[in-house]
Symmetry: C2
Subunit: 451 residues, 2 copies
Amino acid sequence: MFRTLAAETISKIGEKLLLKGWVNTIRDHGKVVFIDLRDRSGIVQVVGDEKLGKLRVEDVVEVSGVLNKRPEKMVNPEIATGKVEVQVENLKVLAPAAELPFDLGQESLKLDLPTLLDNRSLSLRHPRIKAIFQVQETIVQTFRSTMKNLGFTEFQAPTLVATATEGGAQIFPVKYFDYTVYLAQSPQFYKQIMVSAFERVFTVAHAYRAEPSVTTRHMTEYLGLDVEFGFIDSWQELMDTAEHLVKEIFRAVKENHAEILKMYQIDVPGLSAQVPRIKLKEAQEIIYKRTGRDIRQEPDLDPEGEREMWRWAQDEHDSELVFITHYPTKKRPMYTHPDPENPQETLSFDLIGRGQEWITGGQRINEYQKLVANIKKWKCDPKNFEVPYLQAFKYGMPPEGGFCLGLERITMNILGLSNVREATLFPRDMERVDIRLTEIRGKRKTNPNTT
Amino acid sequence: MFRTLAAETISKIGEKLLLKGWVNTIRDHGKVVFIDLRDRSGIVQVVGDEKLGKLRVEDVVEVSGVLNKRPEKMVNPEIATGKVEVQVENLKVLAPAAELPFDLGQESLKLDLPTLLDNRSLSLRHPRIKAIFQVQETIVQTFRSTMKNLGFTEFQAPTLVATATEGGAQIFPVKYFDYTVYLAQSPQFYKQIMVSAFERVFTVAHAYRAEPSVTTRHMTEYLGLDVEFGFIDSWQELMDTAEHLVKEIFRAVKENHAEILKMYQIDVPGLSAQVPRIKLKEAQEIIYKRTGRDIRQEPDLDPEGEREMWRWAQDEHDSELVFITHYPTKKRPMYTHPDPENPQETLSFDLIGRGQEWITGGQRINEYQKLVANIKKWKCDPKNFEVPYLQAFKYGMPPEGGFCLGLERITMNILGLSNVREATLFPRDMERVDIRLTEIRGKRKTNPNTT
């Protein structure tokens, strides 16, 4: 007999079925026991005698029996299989579960984040937690399909690099035989190189930042949805493409996950408004005028400034998103294209979504000589960038640019989560790599050169 | 005026067009100069006066002019745009190219591999090299669509791990603030954990092996197409799924890349034959009988044994693929399910494709107590595996298994390449991370603990 999934049962009234899954909940009425059986498709009710009462929540079971209509007063309109139930004939425990450390059956797991993560392999089974990663899968797939439709080629970026890609000390060293290499801070150089061969490229890339700080928005390992393309006529095209992409993502999440959005009591940002594009300096003026808070001398927006611009964009443009443009040259990486009208500023942008930075991007310097000059200006040695990076520019690179969308950030903000770790299957930060690192202090603290 | 791509020209005879791309080749006849202009869609001929003769190969240019039919005798039946050409009216160099270190215009780049890789950013522009990564993109996309059609969920696996996942010393240490963490050898533990929440999962995962050896088949960083699923009735299902997957990949490559296969003078393996499944011990007997070479006491096939089984499968089963099964328990990782009929052997398999291992997989131990016992038997401490790995089993894990397909390996063998590095955009091995590491010996050799 073939297995039937929970969601497939409804059309099979009167048939004998084989079901497999986890015991989600047990309602023991003595001689009659009801079980909600959970599998990847959903939940279906199973009814049997007192033997079922001996089961434990999360036991993995195989059940066979006839599918019946439930009596009218037992119908549950809340679930798709609410009109049916399986009368157990045979039941086999495929794998028993130990007693749970917390109640997985409640509608929302009311655990603090450390407990949730200490029990990641269990908490992931909760429908509300699982839902986050179903939305995330849709975001990744929509990213790919949207870029493919625009003629982009997908590539796989390496994560081990010989030099720090964007400068800065916040980089993890790897002991690599007799050498030291590093974990890539981004696939930036590789996606630019790829433009010189494929014109339009994208990748889902692992990126690593050794920032010794703990915030609700940062992790040491995260995923970037990276885009780069050549032959742009204007850097505005980069923002057009970024805006198109996030709107396609909103559309797909709304279409595929209406129930999850309902569960989180949230909607995706509206699709109709055009996302306003506003210079950093103007944004700082707006914040000053609206709140009296003066950050006009800063080279960036602070988190509160990002939130205020979210409020402003809603008030003035009916938009939950806003592009902030023209960041100062000295605060952007050496490959950023300066604004020809004002070399103190760059053709760069951030997309602020629901008050947080989702995307960062801009036009790049594509002329070899200018790029070499800029590298020197940033006090770096062009020799260290010759192979493979500068090589791509030496032999003809079109005007180009791109952007990176933080996967966990957009997942978090679409669902209104309060910490980026909730939007990450196995979050890594300076305190945790699955286990809490403090627990291994002393015991496993070792020198990579001597292991 | 909007840009027209090379491939789009053919339907626009008589129209004035704007083209952008790279100067692929220049044929200078003095007063008449022909240029092949290359963009992401292909090549189109551009014709003009002696000014064109001043261009350099790989210059990035913008050309406008009218599209004409070529005179009958000038038609080139070899290319899609062979019947048309653009008569230049305006030409602008968007970015100049330096003189090339080798001729990119020849049909096949006759460079040794180190030169090819020393010039990766340039060699990638060659159509024959570029084609490899177009095929690779199709393989990855077909992997995903095939698994999605079977009800699998895609997830993103972390690459930083707190412990060595599968044991062994061949693991890269990362200096992680005050701690040492490691680069994942595979997403094995994570995909198993995911089964306990999602039942059927897959991921495209970075994997790292610190093997201090240089072969044509190994690199230190590679990509695994990883699959894992629960509620299997029999471990044969794993091989059924793996066989289905590779055949879908062959089908997609054949359908989408007929011209590339022609360029490489190769075809994908045949789809009709069922892939034979043969025990390791039987394979060793076959090799002994066919060649007299006695490897019957070995716990594995050696490379020559893999090639001989390829020949055998072709001779006896008209198949370029063969499953080798039942590897000895002592040679497989601790989570591998023993064969109930013979605990010295495991329910494991490799798929040998064109004489090389493409896939490795098997059924896993899903019962918590047995898994804990096996970890001890392997002389490891279960405490080091409790969070998050064993946790998933403690609370009910269905019978499950999976496999991993090496992306670079299958790309290499489908196209008949002789080195896996050719099938890798930016290959990393113990001698190279973009640059040759020997070039930085002494100069940049540093202690990760002191940088």
